[in-house]
Amino acid sequence: MSTTDASGIPASASPGNKRQVTREQGIRRFKWTVLTPLILLMAFLLLPAFLLQGYFSFFAFSIFDAGDSSGFSSYFKASEWVGLDLWKDAFSDTKFFNAILRSLLFSAGTTVCCFVLGFGLALLMYRPFRGQGFYYVFFILPMLTVPIVIAYTGEMILYQNGPLNDILSRITGQRVMFQFLYAKEVALTTIMFLETWNWTPFSFIIMMAGLASLPKEPQEAAQILGASKLRIFWEVQVPLLRPVILLALILRFLEAMAEFPKTWGLLQGGPGSATETIPIYIFLNAWQYFDISYGAVLSYIVMFLMIFIIMGAIWLLRREKKNLDDMYQAPNQEG
């Protein structure tokens, strides 16, 4: 943001300049004081893991060759230089490619569903009313339920002879025998449904916070000018909420990409490979096959993919913030 005073003279040239620069320096110093321990902690905790993972992605490690020798060095002795072989394997691995597609589909689908429902609930709830606290707690309950419990509860509800089909049968008057779990065309959608139920409260909370923090003046002004509620929503509230919406979407998407407990607890990647998403596939390779090196390569690829997504998200967030700042600044400059 530029620092000009009302006369158009740059702030740095004004008499208060010296004090302001000192204050900025102080803020910077404070930031670094707070951040440095965190950065060091991250470096000590994460960097060795990254480096080790990097090492084993080029040196194939086999637990079966570690044999009887003990000590940290035995892991290195049991690994063999393979260069880019494992990376080539990963890029030609159709099962991995399919897992990425499934994860992207799963995450995009559940993100949109969670957001639409969460935003809807937030719109209903953000103005104070009698009993609001009760509903608030009620709506966030799914998020407080352990995902593995959701998996098993979901299994009981979704059996072919389970209560959901029974309710549908009573409503339609026909015997509904829908296969929610074990038809390969439907299985991923079923997990998406459970994920949506589990995490809609997350979007709800973010959107509630966003709506509650909206400045009242622009809305009141629009109201005085005779704008309808729908128009106020689309033309005042939504534009102001854009950074919050984007944040809710991004956080939910990243969280969904990592979904494991419900998928594993309910279907273990099946039926067939219908629910074999990225976390399931990496788990199989690292913890069932004990192919640590290949697991490291897959993890790196996913990490790069996620970095790419996050960078895109940060760019979008910055753009939204800038747009919002510009929007606020324009009337001020005009004034």
Binding site: F64, G270, G272
Partner: protein, 482 residues
């Protein structure tokens, strides 16, 4: 034999065991007066010699298996001071991955893992397991199992496990339905032959079709445990998963027969079978929805328990079907998971654990463990469990133990090579894709062969070649049960 009139009650057996243990303890405590008696005494004497002050142990065991072992464990603790003080409760299906993680960390925290002995090659290769032969020699202990079952505990000539559970696949048939005159007539009218115990998979399928959809097959077709059926189909067709050279050997006639047989049962299985494991199928079996199945023998005790089953007295147990695909009738059952006590090589208390493991596997104690009527997860494997008047016979019925005995004679291991989890998971994925998505048997075998070849390269062909000799030596020598 009914529950109300057992020849030997559990209480009596426990009392006798406790007395024997106490006598043994006293005997060994008095120098020069050691009683050269039961195998239990010898184990207690060896344990007391190695650990005069006793020893606390820690391990991983699924809670379903813990209760039945408790009386024997307590008896051993009273006699030697060696006892399991802490147990981590993990499902037996999850312990293999956990044990592999322990192998990776080379930790001595856990003294034992109670898990599938088919994991012995992987865990021994990863340097986790302690060979038990030296301790067995000290305690003058031998595994006295039916048929060749004890061989499943060995790898490259060394013993690495002590079984607590036979866990063999047995044929279950609803005898009330098989004996129903109307059903018999209807079947005879349609097929021109009498309804009879199935000799082959094709015979069994014919019977299933007669009763379907009133009753469905109880054979599993989920991605988790249905591998057991594939093994039976492949082995009975004369197939073997690897060549002597360590290459995959399933993309052939026998392999195709195995997958096609696996898929044919879709016609007579419940629509939700692709997702049903044991928690879902067992209630169907004991609840009366299933006409027949091959199933783990522990379910016999459950099915014959009137407090837990609607089908008590309605089942007949016996030999599983086989196949004439190889030109002669071959019947092959499978034992997986064979739940056994495996001792951690890195544990400083491994010898104590070895003695405790042996103590659970003596004739008398094994019968107490496998004869528990409530906790039926441990199934008979010891020769003594099949003798008249054994607790196991009471729990499993005379017909049940006969069926178990028959099937143990022709039982086979799962893939007894390093990398079991990887090989099985790749096959499971392909089988499940075929069952739910129409992938052909040929494609299943081709895709599995490709995945196995990659795994074999990683594990090492030389290692696999050596292991395949062991694996082959575990296969039964009989074509059909005696």
């Amino acid at each position: 034999m009914s529950e109300k009139n057992p020849k030997i009650s559990r209480r009596k057996a426990l009392k006798a065991g406790a007395t024997a243990a106490a006598v043994g303890a006293v005997g060994t405590a008095v120098p020069g007066k050691a009683i050269a008696g039961s195998e239990e005494d010898a184990i207690i004497a060896a344990a007391k010699k190695a650990y005069p002050k006793g020893q606390d142990l820690t391990g991983i065991m699924w809670s379903n298996y813990q209760r039945a072992v408790q009386p024997v464990r307590q008896e051993f603790a009273a006699a030697t001071g060696i006892d399991i003080k802490k147990m981590q409760d993990i499902s037996v299906f999850d312990i293999p991955a956990r044990a592999m993680a322990e192998a990776l960390s080379k930790s001595g925290e856990f003294d034992f893992f109670h898990m599938d002995s088919n994991m012995i090659p992987s865990l021994a290769s990863a340097g986790l397991l302690e060979p038990l032969d030296a301790y067995m020699k000290k305690a003058n202990f031998k595994l006295n199992a039916v048929g060749d079952f004890a061989k499943l505990m060995t790898y490259k000539g060394k013993t690495y496990g002590i079984p607590t559970d036979g866990n063999v696949m047995v044929q279950f048939m609803r005898k009330d339905l098989m004996e129903d005159p109307e059903e018999r007539k209807a079947f005879a009218d349609k097929h021109g032959k009498e309804m009879a115990w199935p000799e082959t998979w094709e015979d069994e399928l014919e019977l299933y079709k007669h009763f379907y959809p009133r009753y469905h097959s109880g054979n599993l077709r989920d991605r988790g445990s249905s591998m057991a059926w594939w093994y039976m189909y492949l082995y009975s067709a004369g197939g073997f998963p690897f060549t002597d050279d360590g290459d995959p050997n399933i993309d052939n006639d026998a392999g195709e027969y195995a997958v096609e047989t696996y898929l044919k049962y879709k016609e007579v299985s419940h629509a939700e079978a692709p997702g049903w494991g044991t928690p879902q199928m067992i209630p169907r079996i004991v609840g009366g929805n299933v006409f027949a199945c091959q199933y783990w023998d522990g379910i016999i005790a459950l099915a014959e328990n009137p407090n837990k089953s609607k089908t008590t007295g309605k089942w007949a147990y016996g030999q599983i079907p086989g196949s004439r695909h190889s030109g002669k009738l071959l019947k092959r059952s499978v034992s997986t998971p064979v739940v056994s006590l495996l001792v951690n090589k890195h544990s400083p208390r491994k010898e104590a654990m070895a003695y405790l493991a042996m103590y659970t596997a003596t004739g008398k104690n094994s019968d107490i463990v496998t004869g528990d009527r409530v906790n039926t997860f441990h199934d008979p494997w010891h020769v003594d469990a099949f003798k008249d008047g054994s607790l196991s016979q009471t729990a499993y019925t005379p017909n049940g133990v006969q069926g178990i005995n028959d099937c143990l004679q022709v039982t086979c291991p799962a893939l007894f090579v390093t990398g079991l989890l990887e090989f099985e998971t790749e096959l499971k994925r392909n089988l499940s894709e075929a069952y739910t998505g129409g992938k052909s048997a040929k494609a299943v075998n081709k895709d599995t062969t490709d995945a196995w070849a990659r795994a074999a390269r990683r594990i090492g062909k030389r290692r696999l070649r050596e292991e395949i000799a062991t694996y082959k030596s575990l296969m039964p020598t009989r074509d059909v049960p005696a």
